[in-house]
């Protein structure tokens, strides 16, 4: 059966051109399949010149937030942090694209453009640790994944080689993470910043106690999808032997971006594309097999009598800001939704698809991003290098996860960045005090390079009420659904933020920083704060950011009754529909999710190809 008005048929239609969509398109195309990629955002970025226009937009943006290089597009709007952070408890926030129903602000954004949110991500790529996949079995909380670390290991290897990850095995082999024999990362670890080295030295041998157990605090290098020094020699990657690695440079200008050049702007844009974005994977697609249609918004899936998907509608716009053309239906043997956790959920809900479990849009999670910061006693060279080059990984797992959340700690390289937005406000503050001239220059130079910042990516558990919904009440200017977000945090997560304050105190004390130079309370005006009474009986006024790690909205599981997709990310309800990406995660763990999503998605392409044979 075909839907009316059909003019084109493909082996597969992929919705979204971010890392997931690009990988599916590349893999299916390489296997000789015909693929249509539908991208809602603008058709820009694949040439060096169009990408550089993003850099110029960033330079002249007054508020340099994650989407600032990528001009707002009225035809396919994206959420902005500047909209979201206005939320006040108990009041729906209607500003911008994303509708916030609270009670907490879901303070994360994503980008609808060719390349998706990988244009503005930082590029951090740790693997999940084995216990992240079995939270119920190991700790009696949340749910287990329908696959394990062992099942995913070879796909991690492939994803790391596909995206170009710089890391050292020895630094990453913590908390049960293992590597197959003969494997190594494609590039050596990115050098630790001078600030990292100072912190590593100061905290050597430091341990932290949680619920009666001691955990070591070790500063170690960060795995990053950022070009570094390529490894040479024979390296075994998931069954094939590679002879060294050749870094992938910029899309449309491959000699650019062969190494990270220290632009210190990874979020929101790497000017030379040393950081991975899916533009690189799109550039690897075979154009004879893969049709890319940008400025084409998928609006509805058609479901046939037998439950199979029989078509997808999209609406295009010829210029940004122009209205949408009437829907066009295209058909395929397979349909793959790769449009981001929120947009995937939106499209499924708008189509009444894949939701027999009633889990579509539910279990929305993020890493509440909690900050502490301090003023070191000496110049540690802040404001240089990639956003992070090291982390403290040791509290990502442990027996305490029965009671409270784990976290990944990132050691920031950009001073008090999200805490006080230096250097602009510091300049204004000094000028307001009448400090000018050499005193102004000297005072900035004597303080800002000493700024230390720890960021905590705190775990949260899946909750059915944390969800993305749609409503006829909330439509964008084209009459399409805006995402409506309900979001809250459990005590499990708040308690870990209090732990983060205690831990930070210990780290900063080891660095010899006096209490008056240690901070965790943000200045007023940066979102709402929440009073939390901790286990220690004290009250804490806590405030957090989003990490941009949207997961959980179409979770995978072992049973069709409580999950949306199976372990191959195939819909339980529609045999020819895959819903891929971070939305498939049943739990969030503490790792930045993109690498794991790409590994899962590469694994799913095997099932897709089996089905297309």
């Amino acid at each position: 059966m075909t839907a009316p008005g059909t003019t084109e048929h493909f082996d597969a239609i992929v919705v979204g051109s971010g890392p997931m969509g690009a990988h599916v398109a590349r893999e299916l195309g390489a296997a000789g399949k015909t693929v249509l990629v539908l991208e809602a955002g603008r058709a820009s970025g694949l040439t060096w010149e169009s990408y550089r226009s993003y850099v110029a937009s960033y330079h002249t943006a007054v508020i340099k937030e994650p989407n600032s290089p990528y001009p707002q597009n009225a035809s396919a709007p994206s959420p902005l942090t500047t909209d979201i952070l206005r939320i006040r408890k108990g009041t729906p926030d209607l500003v911008g694209y994303q509708v916030e129903q609270g009670p907490q602000a879901f303070a994360s954004t994503y980008l609808r453009a060719l390349g998706g949110t990988s244009l503005h991500w930082l590029g951090t790529t740790p693997r999940f640790v084995p216990n992240d996949f079995r939270m119920q079995k190991s700790y009696g909380v949340a749910v287990d994944w329908p696959l394990s670390y062992d099942d995913l290991e070879e796909w991690y290897c492939r994803a790391e080689w596909s995206m170009g990850v710089s890391a050292n095995r020895a630094d990453q082999a913590q908390l049960g993470v293992w590597f197959s024999r003969g494997y190594d990362y494609p590039m050596e670890r990115i050098p630790l910043s001078y600030a990292d080295q100072v912190m590593a030295k100061a905290t050597r041998g430091l341990t932290h106690e949680i619920l009666g157990r001691e955990y070591p605090l070790r500063v170690s290098s960060l795995a990053q999808a950022r070009n570094g020094t390529p490894r040479t020699g024979r390296i075994r990657v998931a069954g094939t032997v590679q002879d060294g690695y050749a870094p992938r440079g910029a899309a449309g200008n491959p000699l650019m971006g062969q190494r990270c050049e220290g632009n210190a702007a990874c979020i929101p844009i790497c000017p030379v594309q040393a950081k991975y974005s899916s533009l690189k994977t799109l550039a690897e697609c075979d154009p004879r097999q893969v049709v890319l249609r940008a400025q084409a918004i998928a609006t509805k899936l058609h479901i046939g009598h037998d439950g199979r998907i029989v078509g997808v509608d999209y609406q295009s716009y010829d210029a940004e800001g122009w209205g949408l053309a009437p829907p066009v239906t295209v058909t395929a043997d397979l349909y793959v939704l790769a449009g981001h956790a929120v947009e995937n959920a939106k499209l499924l809900l708008a189509s009444g698809a894949a939701n027999s479990s009633d889990q579509v849009g539910r279990n929305l999670m993020d890493h509440p991003f909690f900050l502490t910061w301090a003023l070191a006693n000496e110049n540690i060279g802040a404001f240089r290098g990639p956003g992070q080059t090291s982390g403290i990984e040791s509290l990502r797992d442990g027996a305490f996860r029965r009671e409270q959340a784990a976290f990944r700690i990132d050691v920031g390289n950009w001073g008090w960045d999200l805490a006080t937005f230096p250097p602009g406000p510091a300049v204004s503050e000094l000028l307001a005090q009448g400090v000018v001239g050499k005193r102004l220059r000297r005072q900035l130079g004597e303080t800002l390079p000493r700024q230390v910042r720890l960021g905590f990516c705190v775990e949260q558990l899946p909750q059915a009420a944390n969800r993305v919904t749609i409503s006829r009440e909330y439509l964008d200017s084209n009459g399409l659904f805006r995402p409506v977000i309900h979001y809250d945090l459990p005590d499990y997560t708040w308690e870990a933020m209090v732990e983060a304050i205690r831990l930070s105190d210990a780290v900063y004390a080891r660095m010899g920083i006096p209490p008056e130079h240690r901070h965790w309370q943000m200045p007023p005006g940066q979102g709402d704060e929440t009073n939390y009474r901790a286990r220690d009986g004290k009250d804490y006024q806590l405030r957090f950011y989003g990490a941009g790690h949207h997961v959980g909205t179409h979770r995978m599981g072992a049973s069709r009754t409580d999950s949306v997709v199976d372990r191959d990310q195939r819909s339980w309800d529609h045999a020819n529909l895959y819903v891929v990406g971070c939305g498939s995660f049943p739990t969030i763990g503490t790792a930045n999710p993109t690498l794991t999503a790409v590994a899962l998605t590469l694994r799913s392409t095997r099932a897709m190809l089996r089905q297309l044979r």
Binding site: A264, R384, G434, V435
Partner: protein
């Protein structure tokens, strides 16, 4: 705006640069080295009119005369007197911020209430080049994000000495 009147110490451009030196703590050579002098010379006139720039430079000449070559005294006079002036202070603050961040900030509501709201007086970054030359990053031993990148691995080295000459 031509920079040729640098040769004439009484020229508007030379006075503008001298005032900028006192505001920013960067030398004349450093400011000229940014390539931004001709652009920044025209910013205040284009936003709130030439008259305000003339008043600012007149006041500057006055302070410079009183300081009589004592750079430290001059800096203090600028910080204490010029910045406290209800009309000229906000313009001087904006000029300093312009050099440090490449950005014009909308003047305070109190200023606009007295002198009028000018159409061009909005908060904006002057240009890509202005961002690339933002001196705040020089002051902190860094570089503007997404510009003047220092190269692979530079961040692992000890930071440079930031002594102000």
């Amino acid at each position: 705006m031509p920079t040729s009147d640098r040769a004439h110490p009484d020229g508007a451009s030379a006075q503008f640069v001298a005032l900028s030196v006192a505001l920013t703590g960067f030398s004349e050579a450093e400011l000229h080295g940014t390539g931004m002098v001709p652009t920044y010379l025209g910013v205040i006139p284009s936003i709130v009119g030439q008259r305000h720039q003339d008043l600012l430079l007149t006041r500057w000449r006055n302070l410079a005369r009183r300081a009589a070559g004592d750079a430290e005294l001059l800096e203090r006079l600028v910080g204490e007197e010029l910045l406290a002036d209800p009309t000229l202070g906000p313009l001087a603050v904006n000029l300093a911020y312009l050099w440090y961040m490449g950005q014009w900030n909308q003047l305070p509501a109190t200023w606009r209430a007295v002198h009028g709201a000018f159409a061009g007086d909005t908060t904006f970054v002057i240009s890509s080049q202005a961002w690339e030359e933002a001196l705040a990053y020089v002051a902190i031993g860094s570089h503007p994000p997404a510009a003047k990148q220092p190269g692979f691995g530079s961040w692992a080295l000890p930071p440079a000495d930031l002594e102000v000459p």
